[in-house]
């Protein structure tokens, strides 16, 4: 496949979109120090993977990818619920959600 054809193909761009979304989420996960934004970045990464799964499922004509996305969405909702509960408890303890201030385990 020549490059010009590659760049105009929709499939290439949609792969690019999901990878860029994942990269953005990973960047936020690594650099932000607010626990809530870290959790949101985690959601972005999960959504990027969902997008790629949907694309490949629709292109290959298999429904298994769609079923997998349903499972991922359920687990993501659960993960957010637990994560926010933990963040609420952390906020009660230290009155901040800055991840740098939770150093009790590092001795």
């Amino acid at each position: 496949m020549i490059l010009a054809e590659k760049l105009t193909s929709m499939a290439y761009w949609s792969h690019f979109v999901s990878i860029a979304l994942f990269a953005l989420g990973l960047l936020g996960f690594l650099t932000r120090r607010n626990a809530l934004i870290v959790l949101m970045s985690l959601e972005l990464m999960l959504n990027a993977v969902n997008l790629l799964l949907v694309q490949i499922a629709m292109r290959t004509g298999t429904s298994e990818g769609i079923v997998l996305v349903v499972f991922v969405i359920t687990v993501a909702a659960a993960e957010v619920a637990v994560g926010l509960g933990i963040i609420l408890n952390l906020y009660r303890m230290k009155k901040t959600v800055d991840l740098g201030s939770f150093r009790n385990l590092s001795g």
Partner: protein
Amino acid sequence: MKEAVFTFFSLFTLLTAAGVVLSRNVIYSAFNLVLCFFGLATLYLLWGATFISMVQILIYAGAIVVLFVFVVMLLNFEKPNERKTRLPIILLSSAGVWTFALILLRVLSKSVGEIPVLETTARASVRTVSKLLFSQYLWPFEVLTVFLLALIVGIFVLARPEGEEVK
């Protein structure tokens, strides 16, 4: 026409995702997250996955972001009390992330030509997905329901007020 709509919503999703990661105020991040989820739902719709698109709006934009906004309001930030990340950490992690992304793009773009493009959208209809969910994937589905029940109990214990014992 479809390509134009697709490009618009792809850029919209990426821009709002950047807004989530970059904005200083948490509430702006949460609102950008809603927009990002709506953009993703539109992308699913463009790919023909109508069921997933509706699920995305109901669960992500409807439930998860509401949870986030609730917690942001509950924590009541008056000033953004987040310390700035040090520059070397930002540079290092962005270098790592973009290397990773480039490798991934290279690997995936090799497989682009190999996957056949199908025009049918019947594969992702509610009927096919639910048939599969209740026959071949029945056991994972049931495990997931038990998992959700355990989750409800766990959240109840986790988020109770300080010092209050579970009766």
